[in-house]
């Protein structure tokens, strides 16, 4: 919360010369990306372009072969306690929600604060209920994840991430596994977060969200960042051939 102004130069999240291979496949090619505090960066691109891998590399759920990733000026530790400590500051929302199946909705949100932040139980519960209220699922607090709809589960997952007071939240295709009528309820929560200056990295196919909430659109193809711009110029006037192709295909219908 009390970051010094000097850090804004390097960005809250800074990737420099990041490369990764899956066997023969070069999934991240020399990625350089800096994300400022309070910025909402939407990453789009065709499937297989490396955008999810990029997102997951930021909290080291994917390891990288070379390059550096820094969070708040600190390089990501490779393993162990220090990595866990750093991950606590990076929220993550997954495509398949990944709520803890054996815990209630409330426990899903309180578990991190209790076990990682060692927060007092009463305080953690109070905060969790506030967050569940904020994402509109407080009435489901005592249920188990399997009893909720996908949209509700994903909103709980967002509350779970927020409960850690993260410096940045990563969204890895948060609406791709949802039925169409549930996409909007999740996007609304995300737009609300964006308005409140939460730093966000969002991998998505929701162009409407990119237009309305993003500060910057990053377009990836074949493991490379091909183009990045503010949403208005990106969508109306993409400069690269591949971005033009991509937008032509998805915006037609």
């Amino acid at each position: 919360m009390s970051d010094s102004g000097t850090l804004t130069q390097t960005g809250l999240v800074a990737l420099t010369g990041v490369n990764k291979h899956f066997g023969e496949l070069h999934v991240l090619k020399d990625i350089n990306l800096s994300i400022a505090k309070g910025e909402v960066v939407v990453v789009i691109g065709p499937s297989g372009s490396g955008k999810s891998t990029l997102c997951r590399a930021i909290n080291r759920l994917e390891t990288i072969d070379s390059g550096t990733i820094e969070l708040d000026g600190q390089p990501l530790p490779s393993e162990g306690k220090s990595l866990a400590t750093l991950r606590a500051d990076v929220g993550m929302v997954f495509q398949s929600f990944n709520l803890f199946a054996h815990k209630t909705i409330l426990q899903n949100v309180t578990l991190g604060p209790l076990k990682v932040r060692k927060m007092d139980a009463k305080q953690a519960e109070k905060r969790a209920l506030e967050l569940l209220e904020r994402v509109g699922v407080a009435s489901q607090a005592s249920k188990y994840p399997a009893q909720l709809s996908g949209g509700q589960q994903q909103r709980v997952a967002i509350a779970r991430a927020l409960a850690m007071d993260p410096k940045v939240i990563l969204f890895d295709e948060p609406t791709s596994a949802l039925d169409p009528e549930m996409i909007q309820e999740v996007l609304e929560v995300m737009i609300d977060l964006a308005k409140q200056q939460m730093t966000m990295v969002v991998v998505t196919h929701e162009m409407g969200f990119a237009r309305s909430a993003a500060n910057r659109v990053v377009f990836m193809a074949d493991g490379e960042i091909v183009e990045q711009a503010d949403p208005e110029s990106f969508f109306t006037n993409p400069t690269s051939r591949r971005a033009q192709d991509f937008l032509g295909k998805i915006l037609k219908h």
Binding site: G80, L111, G112, K115, R160
Partner: protein, 215 residues
């Protein structure tokens, strides 16, 4: 038929009591060691994974009688001071059974979607927390039936200790033969004794399966 049992009640009582003690102590120790080894096998540290794999490959593939022999005779050859035969038998049973528990625990862990542990890691949990708070509690459900089989096998395996001067239930036939009792009836009573011991294990399994069956 009944007199075979009642006339030699002291033998049966002491033998089965020792069997129960061998079983319970080895079961608890195998559960602990096997779970730790199972955790080794899924840990992010390659050296620990190697230890777990090496352990399983060694002891799951060694006949139990051989494990006993190594401890009782091999250790004596190396001038190692052995604890009492009872504790040496517990050691052999634990070393052997842990390898099986380890595999059961590992396969249980593998039934849990990787997303569960990814989410837990993303929240900032350490490997130990991910395992004990998220993965193992969910894996336990899948573990119960195969684990019951491992423990039933352990109960029956305790009879090998009779060959190494531990007077558990498996040693009753030899003593009965000295008393010139009917061998067939003796064996039938021992089999009944083991059935009686295994029934509670089956109920325990059913109870555990019901308890862990979640929505």
């Amino acid at each position: 038929m009944l007199s075979v049992l009642t006339d030699n009640w002291d033998l049966f009582r002491d033998g089965f009591w020792l069997t129960i003690r061998l079983f319970l102590v080895s079961a608890v120790l195998s559960m602990v060691l096997g779970t730790v080894l199972g955790a080794f096998r899924v840990s992010p540290v390659p050296a620990l994974r190697a230890v777990g794999t090496g352990y399983v490959n060694t002891f799951r593939n060694t006949p139990l009688t051989l494990v006993f022999a190594f401890l009782f005779f091999g250790a004596a050859k190396m001038d190692l001071a052995l604890p009492s035969p009872y504790w040496t038998a517990v050691g052999a049973l634990t070393i052997y059974t842990s390898a099986f528990v380890c595999e059961v625990v590992r396969s249980g862990i593998n039934t849990i979607s990787p997303g569960q542990s990814e989410a837990a890691r993303a929240v900032g949990m350490t490997f130990f927390q991910v395992l004990t708070l998220i993965v193992l509690p969910q894996a336990f459900r899948a573990i119960v039936p195969p684990l019951s089989s491992v423990f039933i096998a352990l109960l029956k395996n305790t009879t090998i200790a009779a060959g190494f001067s531990v007077v558990e239930a498996g040693s009753i036939p030899a003593a009965m033969s000295e008393r010139s009792e009917n061998q067939l009836l003796t064996l039938i009573w021992i089999a009944i004794g083991f059935l009686i011991l295994i029934v509670p294990l089956m109920f325990l399994q059913r109870w555990a399966e019901r308890r862990t069956a979640v929505a």
